[in-house]
């Protein structure tokens, strides 16, 4: 009970309260604590990559061993990882402890396979967005009609063809971004920030403990 509930809550209070206070204190001691905490944060993030690696390899290996639907894709994922890992360690002949080579197998695969595939996946969104826009942007109510008109002005006004049609489009698009959009975004940011502060305080003072797992006691 102490190790699973009390200790984590005390640590959350200690580090949460200290981190909030030192943000505003320019004293040397506070700065030194902040430096140490942020260094530890960087180390934790680095180790999180190992956790992520284990998680994704374990997921795909389980799919292969159970012969689940699409298990061959999991095989491709693991094979891709192993090939990439080999070339990173080989490092164009320089070995794993030398600075990353700017040429060789890894750079070639990164540029011509990884970048190409990732960009292609992201570009597919254009097709789905076009289809979704056609189906959803219907002037079914006055609110929807306002949204529709704003969307059309922005879509035309944010690309050079809008200026070729009329100066109205880029000017109206700029106004939409700088006035209604800005006002709404500022409201959202303030709301989200207040919510984040409230949640953080609940965690620091041990009121919110769902992050420990098991829900409320």
């Amino acid at each position: 009970m102490f190790l699973t509930r009390t200790m984590p809550t005390l640590l959350a209070f200690l580090f949460g309260a200290v981190a909030v206070m030192i943000y505003y204190v320019p004293h040397t001691v506070a700065q030194e604590i902040e430096r140490e905490l942020s260094l530890w944060l960087r180390i934790l993030y680095a180790f999180a990559y190992f956790l992520g690696l284990y998680s994704i390899l374990n997921l795909h290996w389980t799919r292969i061993s159970r012969r689940e639907g699409g298990w061959a894709y999991s095989g491709v994922a693991i094979a891709s990882f192993l090939v990439m890992f080999f070339f990173v360690v080989y490092n164009d002949g320089a070995g794993p402890f030398a600075p990353q080579a700017t040429a060789g197998g890894y750079q070639w695969m990164f540029t011509y396979i990884h970048v190409a595939c990732s960009s292609t996946m992201f570009s597919m969104l254009a097709f789905y967005i076009a289809s979704a826009a056609y189906r959803t942007f219907r002037a079914r109510s006055s609110d929807a009609a306002i949204l529709l008109v704003a969307a059309i002005i922005l879509m035309v006004g944010r690309v050079p063809v809008g200026r070729a049609i009329s100066e109205f489009f880029p000017e109206a698009a700029a106004w939409l971004m700088e006035v209604p959009n800005l006002a709404a975004k500022r409201g959202i940011v303030l709301g989200v920030s207040l919510g984040a502060i409230a949640t953080s305080l609940r965690i620091i003072f041990g009121i919110e403990r769902s992050y420990l797992g098991g829900g409320e006691e």
Binding site: L41, T111, S118, I129, S131, Y134, A139, L148, M177
Partner: protein
């Protein structure tokens, strides 16, 4: 009624044609810089007028956003090198080092810039905003060596840098929330340095409040922003070419939306009659 529910494959074909044909043809639309992009350009010009100008460029994007972000990176690096501004590049995104190295090598060779004296590449550090806090306190402590393993204190371009305030400008190329949630709260607000950025088009609306408050001194938003920057630099590149495809595709989407609405109102009238 068919116009109310067009097969999505037909829409896909139109979008494909709208992207592919303009990329193959050679025509252009008038490009004019919007205010946020002009502000970035003016910031670089301000930096160029200072003594021994040096900027920090943070690459915070990965492979999926290369078509949108890489032209932006090339455009600002061209501006910096053409005005003899020294560049220190870092990565806060694990996929970014390969992309940063490509951009730096390409533009440095275009302008005959030397590694070490004109620019340096320090590689990637994990920890999201934590390296920003460390750089604000002590740059050499946060980034002791460059990507080649050389001590940062031994590299001419970084030897005199003590913290983030020693840079005339910090510029973040962001595909995630690094501008809004890392650089502004943990960097700009804490250490008060000049900061500007570029982001994907989908993120740009989120950053307008920071433009107005001057926490962000200018913004290049998406491929359109990169094309505007290329226009200001008078060096048309892949972003300017991409504007042809983007313009035509936007018109196609608008045409489908209008068609869908026309069919919707026609069907309603029929039901009412």
């Amino acid at each position: 009624m068919d116009l109310l529910n067009i097969d999505r494959r037909i829409i896909f074909v139109f979008v494909f044609i709208g992207v592919a044909i303009p990329l193959m043809l050679d025509f252009s639309f008038p490009i004019k810089a919007t205010e946020p992009v002009q502000r970035v350009f003016d910031e670089f010009e301000r930096v160029a007028a200072e003594e021994e100008p040096v900027v920090l460029v943070s690459f915070s994007y990965g492979a999926s956003t290369v078509p949108e972000m890489q032209p932006m990176a090339l455009a600002i690096l061209r501006h910096a090198f053409s005005r003899d501004i020294k560049v220190v590049a870092i990565c806060l995104w694990p996929e970014a080092p390969g992309l940063a190295q490509q951009a730096l090598a390409q533009v440095a060779s275009e302008y005959g810039k030397e590694y070490g004296t004109d620019y340096a590449f320090l590689g990637y550090k994990p920890g999201l905003w934590a390296p920003i806090i460390n750089m604000g306190q002590d740059f050499h402590d946060a980034w002791p060596r460059d990507a080649r393993g050389t001590l940062v204190g031994d590299i001419p371009v970084t030897s005199a840098i003590r913290d983030l305030n020693d840079f005339n400008l910090v510029f973040d190329l962001a595909a995630g929330d690094s501008i809004e949630f890392w650089w502004i709260p943990f960097g700009v607000e804490k250490y008060k340095f000049a900061f500007s950025g570029g982001c994907t088009a989908v993120m740009a609306p989120d950053l307008y409040p920071f433009l107005q408050s001057d926490q962000l001194r200018g913004m290049i938003g998406g491929l359109a922003g990169a094309a505007e920057y290329e226009h200001l630099m008078e060096i048309p590149g892949s972003a300017t070419a991409g504007m042809r495809a983007q313009s035509v595709t936007h018109l196609i989407i608008v045409a489908f939306i209008l068609l869908g609405n026309a069919a919707y109102f026609a069907s309603r009238r029929k039901v009412t009659a």
